[in-house]
Amino acid sequence: MTKPSEIASPKLPFRQRWIPHPSLTGVMILLWVAMANNFSPGGWLLGTCLGLAIPLLTQSIWDTTPKIASYGNVLIYALVVLWDVLVANIEVAWLILFESPRDLRPQWITVPLDLRSREGIAVLAGTVTLTPGTVSCDLSADGRSMLVHCLDARDIEEIIRRIKTRYEARLLRIFR
């Protein structure tokens, strides 16, 4: 079956045809220039070539563009996660060094998801893995529940509430 985008592409306006994802292009240019640590015109030119070519060549992966509702919320979310990663490191280090592994109560839990956006769920799963005591392991086949492994599940309700209010509620405001 032919995808609708393949039929429609010759009729699209110039910008949508050759720069299908402008923000992806922008991020790739900045990433290239920063990675090569080369801010000369040549660096920007090579970055622009890559930023234009790579989204076109990988277009079959990017069949939809996620809608970001608010970039301010993205910044707040990044800061919250950075802070939690810092705390997670210290908590896990404490647990490893000073607590006996026999006192741990590892357990699987199921977290119901309200997020529908694929990109949003991917960000949530990554966040859950990087933050204290939890690793995201699987999704249900319809993508509406997440399987999470807890290192020390003394209070399951609290862990689920934390994932849903601290991270998922913020992501729901970002990915529409």
Binding site: L31, V92, T110, S136, A141, L147, H149
Partner: protein, 131 residues
């Protein structure tokens, strides 16, 4: 100025190596595969992060060069650590778990996606997210 910079860089290097060491101790000390997964996904991100900040400060101060590309290493670590952890967890699920007994229920009309590839279209609104 220089002694202070040296002090900060040295402190960051010590913090970084301590967290990297703790991550490795966790790998030895924790009892099974799934609990061991927790240690490298968390304890090492701060370890590598602190070492990179130390490196950026020292390069900027002694060589006068701002190395932004080292910050990107932290970014890539944040992107790759959860993906690697998820792959390890799925391998564990395939080898040691059985969809009925060992895992909690999905609370959905389908299995965990490791055990079921496609899901029948959703009766509610038909907009199932792709696994």
């Amino acid at each position: 100025m220089t002694p202070w910079v040296e002090f900060v860089v040295a402190a960051l290097i010590v913090i970084g190596t301590v967290f990297a060491l703790v991550g490795s101790i966790g790998l030895v000390k924790l009892p099974d595969v799934m609990t061991r997964l927790h240690s490298p996904t968390k304890a090492t991100t701060l370890g590598v992060g602190a070492l990179l900040v130390a490196s950026i400060i020292s390069f900027y101060h002694w060589k006068g060069k701002l190395a932004i590309n080292e910050l990107l290493i932290t970014l890539f670590l944040f992107l790759t650590a959860p993906v690697a952890a998820q792959f390890l967890a799925r391998a564990y699920l395939h080898l040691h778990c059985d969809s009925a007994g060992d895992l909690p229920a999905t609370n959905r009309p389908c299995q965990w996606s490791t055990f079921q590839c496609a899901c029948p279209p959703d009766a509610e609104d038909g907009s199932a997210a792709k696994p």
